[in-house]
């Protein structure tokens, strides 16, 4: 049975997801020892500026503008507004060349081999539900439930799935939720009109479970550790990462945190790219 990882890279003028994908692909191959394919609308840029042989397959998709925009912070004092192209994740079921796929955000920095256990798991669909903000200074409740009176929250940052009939229905359902997003925000009491894959996946899991808690989707091994875009990735070397995390009630001040051998979702994409540039320039 074929297995591999899939990354999605659709640049928006401010954030270089292609660069992040190349960087993450190398780490996936090193830690998880699986091939990596990329879904991108920037195939020419990938081939001209990077070593594209790191990818098993390049799956080209047409460039598309989006109406979704959002603010991307770079620490607590700076932000840019840019396109938020997140409307293709539900198509990965049909786009992946693998029977067993590990779908990852390009800013989920792998630093151990824990996720390789998914491929031996009896579970056909796995996501993170438990999570931990490494800064521990912010309200984490928003990642427990979709909203105050709504359903359990699942992260779509990392998704393991096998090609099964049930999973095909699941991804088709997410596609339906995407197309009828306004309706589902009302049903599930979601305040923001912005389409979020985490919410869409959570809603789809809730529906597949018969509109109740259940075990249609199981948890990935470990916890989803994350830093928000108000924190700064200061240094990245092999499996070690040094962060400056937001200091509560002290705007512009930070506390240093170091992680070793722990995979982290680094939401500050600007600081991630600065570190990637530094790592690439040293290679």
């Amino acid at each position: 049975m074929s297995k591999g990882a899939i990354l999605i890279a659709r640049n928006n003028g401010n954030i270089d997801y292609v660069k992040q994908s190349v960087f993450l692909a190398e780490r996936i191959q090193y830690y998880l020892k699986i091939p990596v394919s990329i879904i991108t609308d920037s195939e020419e840029y990938l081939k001209s500026d990077f070593d594209h042989t790191v990818f098993d397959q390049i799956i080209a998709i047409p460039y598309k503008k989006t109406a979704n925009t959002r603010a991307y912070n770079d620490g607590t004092l700076f932000y840019k507004t840019a396109d938020f192209k997140n409307d293709i994740r539900h198509e990965v079921y049909n786009l992946t060349p693998y029977n067993e796929t590990l779908l990852l955000d390009t800013d989920y920095i792998i630093a151990n081999d824990l996720l390789s256990s998914c491929f031996n798991s009896n579970n056909d669909l796995m996501l993170f539900k438990s999570s931990e903000d490494i800064a521990k200074v912010r309200n984490e409740k928003e990642f427990d439930y979709v909203s105050d009176y709504s359903i359990e929250f699942y992260w779509a940052t990392v998704v393991f799935f096998r090609k099964t009939q049930e999973n095909e229905i699941f991804f088709d359902l997410i596609s339906h939720i995407y197309k009828n997003w306004k309706h589902y925000t009302r049903i599930y009491q979601i305040d923001s009109p912005l389409f979020r894959n985490d919410f869409a996946f959570s809603i789809a899991i809730h529906i597949m479970n018969g509109f109740q808690k259940g075990n249609f989707a199981q948890q990935l091994p470990g916890k989803h550790l994350y830093t928000t875009d108000k924190d700064i990735l200061w240094n990245l070397k092999n499996d070690e990462m040094l962060f400056l995390v937001e200091k509560k009630n002290y705007l512009g001040e930070y506390t240093a945190i170091k992680t070793i051998g722990q995979s982290i979702h680094v939401m500050n994409k600007f600081s991630l790219e600065r570190e990637i540039d530094r790592v690439f320039s040293n290679e």
Binding site: N112, L114, N123, Q219, P221, T255
Partner: protein, 118 residues
Amino acid sequence: MDERLEKALEFSNYMVTLNNQKRLLKEKYYEDLLYFHSGCQFTVTKELITFVGMLISNSNDSDIVLVDDNNSPISIDNLNTFYENILDVYFSASNEYNTKYNELKKKRSVEKLVDIDE
């Protein structure tokens, strides 16, 4: 600033960093305690070790059903091997945790806690 307050704030900063590093070390320990067997995931706890040890000591060591972290039951063919493996996971993870924890305790500045050259 009053020198007494300045020293207290400096120590407060150190404690924040120390507690953060201890918390992350604990999370790493929990990850290291995971044991995978026949497609199932077990967190190796003292309870699991004691239960499996008790079954073996009562000669109930074949075709035992255990329930994994995702509440899936699984029949363990060879409980003795399973027991040896979870003990190995437990001691490796705990020893590593102990070593790293003691290293942390000896670091008396924020810079040393996050391994930045002063």
